[in-house]
């Protein structure tokens, strides 16, 4: 009886630890993917203003560089995706 109880306790501990590690892993994965999406979004957002200022860039009034400002990376973007 005592031995079976010890095994069950160990199983419960393993399950509990796995659950905690799994939560941490999912959070890490979610944050990393969101950082990746932030890079991806920057690439897409940088292109239109670059194209729109193309003609002016080869004139006497070439404008400012960079033509667009980079979206800041924030905690809410990494942990909430917005």
């Amino acid at each position: 009886m005592g031995y079976a109880s010890l095994i069950n306790d160990k199983k419960a501990q393993v399950t509990l630890e796995s659950a905690l590690a799994f939560i941490a892993l999912i959070m890490l994965l979610y944050g990393s993917v969101n950082i990746w999406l932030w890079f991806n979004r920057n690439l897409a957002e940088r292109q239109p203003p670059y194209n729109q200022t193309r003609v002016a860039a080869g004139s006497s009034n070439p404008g400012q560089w960079p033509v667009s400002s980079q979206r800041p990376i924030t905690e809410s973007w990494v942990f909430e995706g917005k």
Binding site: F39, N40, N42, G58
Partner: protein
């Protein structure tokens, strides 16, 4: 006991692999971003030079951005490398031929008639780190200090002229320029943990 050892080994191996995969994903995204910025910038700068000087202008950018180094010491970081180039003919009549290199924060005009066939970079790095811990009955105070001196020598190998060499040092803003050769970049951190 064996089961516990196996679980620990699996965690050590797979946990590290997962962390490495995530780090690779993020650093790949960062290098894609830098590459796009450099491509756009090289074309714009070539276009401006071509317009200003009524020329066929070639503009090459070589950057060594500092990036986070997961396997390095405190504040050590690592030196990356990215480059891009563009050639633009934007002129009226007979164009001049111009060739520029922007190496980190310094711009070089290559003399007419000199053709650059290769770029070589040599680096010299000195990094020291120190950690001290002071404990008294009320709290433990930990101090971390890092000192980094990084010097880059870039040589533009020329065909039909003499090579062009430029030496640059790492500045406090994380960028390399000629004016910061030999400069020591420092990073200090101190935190107190009450008992």
């Amino acid at each position: 006991m064996n089961n516990r050892a196996q679980a620990t080994t699996e965690l050590a191996v797979f946990g590290s692999l997962i962390l490495i995969c995530l780090a690779v994903l993020v650093s790949y995204g960062q290098s894609l971003q830098e590459q796009q910025i450099l491509q756009q910038q090289a074309f714009r700068k070539a276009l401006k030079k071509a317009y200003d000087e009524n020329a066929f202008a070639s503009y090459n950018i070589i950057k060594n951005p500092r990036t986070a180094n997961l396997f390095g010491g405190y504040g050590e970081g690592s030196r990356g490398g990215a480059s891009s180039g563009a050639s633009v003919a934007w002129c009226l009549g007979d164009p001049a031929e111009k060739n520029y290199y922007e190496i980190n924060e310094d711009e070089i005009e290559v003399p007419t008639g000199t053709k650059i066939i290769d770029v070589e970079t040599q680096a010299s790095t000195t990094y020291t780190a120190r950690e001290t811990k002071f404990e008294d009955p009320t709290a433990a105070t930990t101090t971390k200090q890092a000192r980094l001196t990084d010097t880059l020598t870039t040589t533009l190998k020329a065909d039909g002229g003499s090579d062009i060499t430029i030496t640059q040092g790492l500045g406090a803003d994380g960028r390399y320029r000629q004016s910061t050769v030999g400069q020591e970049v420092s990073k200090d951190k101190e935190w107190v943990t009450p008992h």
